[in-house]
Symmetry: C2
Amino acid sequence: MTTLLALFRRPEGGAAALDAFEHAYAQTHLPLIAATPGLRSMRSDRVVEGLGAATDLVLITAMTFDDRATLDAGLASEEMRVAGRNLRQIAPGLSTLLVLEDASELVPVDWR
Amino acid sequence: MTTLLALFRRPEGGAAALDAFEHAYAQTHLPLIAATPGLRSMRSDRVVEGLGAATDLVLITAMTFDDRATLDAGLASEEMRVAGRNLRQIAPGLSTLLVLEDASELVPVDWR
């Protein structure tokens, strides 16, 4: 499985700016992401605390695809282009996008 | 659901150092993590690429617990103390630990 992981840093402007980002993200961005061809699942989590050190991250979304080719086709789609444009409007410069590949062979057998 | 997310940066020393870290992580660290009271699931993914910008992250592990109280009890356990000591040996200064809380209300209803 291939995962597109989006990490979002805290916007400037305090709690009101964070609320506005979350609202726009849920109302405008994730519905666009949901239309991406090949998307298998999506999941969002709030970052509530960094352990041992403060973090500037506030939200993380994982989007899974069957494999890298399917992700690449999704990234090249019109739907993802529109979603990318939207993201640059609602969270300019605040996101990091990572491509992850399943490494379940590292995990103890009983937990795979 | 509460998730403990561990993000690992690339160790110095090239591919050999990364291989050594992965080996120690799989053979010594994750078996210790697996013994943590209250752990519900664990999952590791390799970071294979940053989109739009390079990344120094190489591995991400998600460990889930029923709720924050269960995670806190797990973090305070002898098992996690031993795992933390191990981590400081095999990847000193290379990890970021985040506490995440499910934000599925942000996701379109059909995808929750």
